[in-house]
Amino acid sequence: MFKAKSVFVKCFLVLIIFSSLACQKGNRTDHLLHVAIKAPPLNLDPRLATDGTGFKLSKLIFNGLFRLNEKLELVPDLLESYQQKTSNTYHFVLRKEVRFHNGKELTADDVLYTYNSILKDEVASPFKSAFEKVKTIQQEGKYEFSISLQEPYAPFLTALSLGIVPKEEVLKLKDDFTRHPIGTGQYQFVQWQDDAFVELKAFPQAFQGIPKNAGIRFDILKDDNLLVLKLLKGDVDLALNGVPPVLLEKVKQKENINVLSDFGITVSYLGMNLENPILKQTKVRKAIALALNRDELIVHYRKGYARKANSILSPSNWAYNKDLPQIQYDQKEAMRLLDEAGYPDPDGNGPKPRFSLQYKTSSSKERIEIAQMIARQLGQIGVEVAVQSYEWGTFFDDIKKGNFELYSLQWVGVTEPDLLYDIFYSKNLPPEGLNRGRYKNKALDPILLAARKAQTPEARRKYYLEAQSILFTELPLIPLWYEDNVVAFWNTIEGVHLSPDASFKMLAELTKQAGKH
């Protein structure tokens, strides 16, 4: 009996001692920047990477013919020069002496291989649709080639920001290339430990210039609480859009941590099914928009880190229509419009609604909370909204099939205004297109088509301005807000700045002062 007790006590003491020993913070011996990411990349092969993390990381490892600069303008990256010869042919000249991470030089061979591998289905690339417009690709020298399209297609150049892969290596590694990527970017791939981290190191021969730090370790932290705690403890130096707004206060309280925020391009929106008899009517949609108190939503759910939206394109976009007003918050006007549309409130201020709508959302908690808040706001003008949440697969299936009335989602990383064509052109119904609301406007269609064919950015811009104006009047979907990009980082890190697309490129300019933690 007592023997058992003393054994018990001894073991307990041992456990405590062990734990406190184990609690000694592991000293960070590497000279790497530790950046938090919330999900592992799915693919590092630029031809395949559509997931957020994979996309951003592949931009550090690879270069394309073009890239987006901090103003979201398309500028040459691997190109020394280019020329648009006719309305549908382009001639490209590559930079010389660009090295892959294995020392090999990049040539037109690699570029052609990259594009052809997509066209010929050697990889099942989600980027194929942009390349389907290609009629021929002609190599004209070690560094020169031409591309001719089947018809003029202005957004084509944006597609050419796709990373170029080395032909030899890809042929050798095949499927494994995505986990052992070799590119021309400022960082080269070191290792990828599943569910733990991805490590990159600086590439000394990078043609854009060697990064200011030795390398970066991207720590995969799926759990928000864990991410915040690791940031607070200093295991992680920087988190870009990693800390949920609700927890930012806690992070800000810490003395040595800075928080920077700036305008972003991801837009949250409320989608509506325009085949629904009620939602078909513009007045009803306008009324719904007027009834939304977006300030309240932004203050509460984004803690102020968002701005009201009036278009799919954000103000940082070159095609954004600056002359559009903001949608007001006006319950009286909303109710008046509903009366006019033929949906009076049957019992004045009583519980009976004018009509009911079903609001589907994914099982993401933020989405559900926002949905419930919107439901309350709409309830105040007499529209009864039932929120139903589904796990993602089921939810997305319903959206594509048109089996919904209201839903909300985001358009992430909106840089190319041709997205308006994908979303609002009447024939672009899912699953091939993104017109989930089933919006059909015969007046808008030709404008969107013309914008694709226009030859100069100015001409395109004119069309997009008009398109946004129409969309603002019609409101086939209601833009809610543009999310800000928020970066939280230790004050020992210097050089941090944000670009609207929350790109990781700025990481190359960061340096860390020694002697903290």
């Binding site: 609480n225 806690k250 203050v299 509460h300 099982s363 419930q372 949440s389 589904y390």
Partner: protein, 272 residues
């Protein structure tokens, strides 16, 4: 204090707790200080104070109110599941015991198959395929719930069957259902109620667990498990969100366990 007194204490304690919680559940609308849909964004994450005894959640909703309504959900579901399992289990168990032969073997095989898998994994697997709704939760929990009742009743029925009064009923040519309901069932109530009591505890646990994983009740329903799920998200800034719903789950489960334990010691010969 003698052990028997302790056991009686558990029995009554369990009963009292269950009664109190049931009252809370049934009269939730009357007892709750706030309306279920009341919210106030400026009270977001308020700590427990005199107006909001359990504090507020993210939207400033009163947690005490949510917990009260949550009692309805959890206890309600548990009650229905237990009833369904009980009925189903009794029918199958009695059938097996009285019919014997191939029917009995089939029923036994069924129970073995169902028992082969951990309840919880089974529940998750099925829940993943169904849309979240209260009726689906009841369906899932009853799928495995009937097994323990069936086995218990079958076992009891088999031994009771040999009793004189049952044998005489059979000799007199009474129909199987008559034997089942008049002779057997009334004498099995003791162990059945005990099983039901532990059963309630188990169902409440699994339902909360499913809701915690987001596979149980639909979003917006104030199940205790779902409240805990929310609480885990905001653990760093509002730990009180997690504390109270969890406490309630523990109390209810404990109450049913006390009850079952107490009943067992009172009505079943003491093997301990």
């Amino acid at each position: 204090m003698k052990k028997t007194e302790y056991k009686a204490f558990y029995l009554y304690l369990g009963l009292v707790l269950i009664l109190v919680l049931s009252v809370f559940a049934v009269f939730a609308p009357l007892l709750s200080p706030f309306d279920l849909h009341y919210y106030n964004l400026s009270d977001s994450f308020l700590s427990p104070n005199t107006t909001h005894w359990f504090g507020c959640d993210f939207e400033g909703r009163d947690i005490f109110t949510l917990v009260l309504y949550g009692a309805r959900v959890s206890l309600g579901i548990a009650l229905v599941v237990t009833l369904v399992s009980f009925v189903l289990g009794s029918l199958l168990g009695l059938c097996g015991a009285l019919c014997r032969g191939p029917i009995d073997n089939a029923i036994l095989f069924l129970t073995d198959v169902f028992l082969a898998f951990p309840s919880f994994l089974f529940a998750i697997a099925v829940a993943a395929f169904l849309r979240p709704s209260i009726s689906n939760v009841i369906f899932i929990l009853s799928l495995k719930g009937w097994v323990s009742y069936a086995r218990l009743i079958r076992g009891q029925a088999l031994s009771l069957r040999e009793q004189a009064y049952v044998q005489s009923s059979i000799a007199l040519g009474a129909s199987k259902s008559r034997i089942a309901f008049k002779d057997l069932l009334p004498n099995m109530l003791g162990p059945l109620v005990i099983n039901a009591s532990f059963g309630m505890a188990g169902v409440i646990m699994i339902e909360s667990s499913l809701s915690f994983l987001g596979l149980g009740v639909p979003a917006g329903t104030p199940s205790w498990g779902a409240l805990l799920d929310q609480g885990t998200q905001y653990l760093l800034i509002a730990p009180h969100l997690s504390f109270f719903p969890g406490l309630c789950i523990m109390l209810v489960v404990l109450a049913f366990n006390f009850l079952g334990d107490g009943l067992r010691d009172r009505f079943v010969p003491d093997t301990k």
